[in-house]
């Protein structure tokens, strides 16, 4: 479990330990459909996906954002997360192998809190970023 980062010890440029995920499976998309309440059939029903011009079903963007949440909570405890955001920059397909990575981009104080800004991303097996995100956590 993550411990609270110590503001004085954190340096801009510090990397978060990357996480390599197992390949995205159709089963995982079905679980996320139920767990998230996002019932858009485009993620689980190949007939529906083809009807709208896609070659196959593809992962919910928010599933990948959930992965980014895991990355950030591996760096700082859940109750220290102040912001988490992302752009969804390309589609994640079934079978893709996603690597989560991130680094410290800034340190600042705001409203009496010592904040650390992070750049975080999901990258597929071809080196293409699928999500480009950011997070802010409160340090000690």
């Amino acid at each position: 479990m993550a411990t609270v980062p110590k503001f004085d010890q954190v340096k801009v440029g510090d990397a978060i330990k990357p996480i390599v995920l197992p390949p995205i499976s159709r089963h995982q998309l079905a679980l996320y459909c139920g767990g998230s309440g996002d019932h858009n059939p485009i993620h689980v029903d190949i007939d529906f996906a083809k009807k709208f011009g896609f070659k196959d079903v593809f992962a919910h963007g928010m599933l990948s954002m959930g992965f980014l949440g895991r990355l950030v909570t591996s760096y700082a405890p859940r109750d220290r997360i102040r912001k988490l955001g992302t752009r969804f920059t390309s589609i994640t397909w079934v079978g893709d192998v996603i690597t989560l990575s991130g680094k410290v981009t800034g340190k600042r104080e705001e409203n009496g809190e010592k904040l650390i800004d992070l750049e975080i991303k999901c990258t597929n097996q071809n080196g293409q970023d699928t999500l480009q995100g950011h997070a802010t956590v409160a340090a000690a």
Binding site: P22, D38, M62, L63, G66, R70, K83, G85, T86
Partner: protein, 153 residues
């Protein structure tokens, strides 16, 4: 296809939903989250939480509990097969735990197009408050709508 910018400012009906342990457990399984603090009360308390916390993006599961889900697409008259998620941002003001009752209020804050109307962007904000009325989070989402008429003469 063209989206009507008159919908900017539209406020959807607020709703309240309970945060359930079983739902959080399924959500964790789906994203591969194995930290026991989300499913084991003893682990959560040992880590300093008053009850089971929820993963950062579980807020999406809360907002998806809207009994009138799909309201944005109905308002804009857009087919669900044409949308993509462009961006999502969360601001966290206070922790959310299993057992909390969260009230969500969504509004449309911007509508614009790019690539000569081939893509439309709808920005919405959802404020989230707990059972005491305290703001716990703000969710900002950008929905991208693919224009099925793009490229046709």
């Amino acid at each position: 296809m063209q989206l009507d910018k008159k919908h900017v400012g539209h406020e959807f009906k607020a709703f309240t939903t309970a945060v359930e342990a079983g739902r959080v457990k399924l959500f964790c399984k789906a994203i591969g989250e194995e930290d026991p603090i989300y499913v084991d009360e003893a682990a959560a308390k040992a880590a300093g939480y008053r009850a089971l916390p929820v993963p950062p993006t579980f807020l999406q599961a809360i907002t998806n509990d809207d009994p009138e889900k799909g309201g944005l697409l109905r308002l804009l008259n857009v087919d669900i097969g044409l949308i993509l998620h462009g961006e999502q941002h969360y601001d966290y003001y206070a922790p959310v735990h299993v057992g909390d009752r969260i009230t969500c209020q969504q509004k449309v804050v911007d509508i614009y197009d790019k690539k000569g109307g081939a893509l439309w962007f709808v920005v919405s904000e959802t404020s989230m408050k707990d059972q005491t009325g305290k703001p716990v989070a703000k969710a900002t989402g950008i929905t991208v709508v693919r224009n099925p008429d793009a490229g046709k003469k």
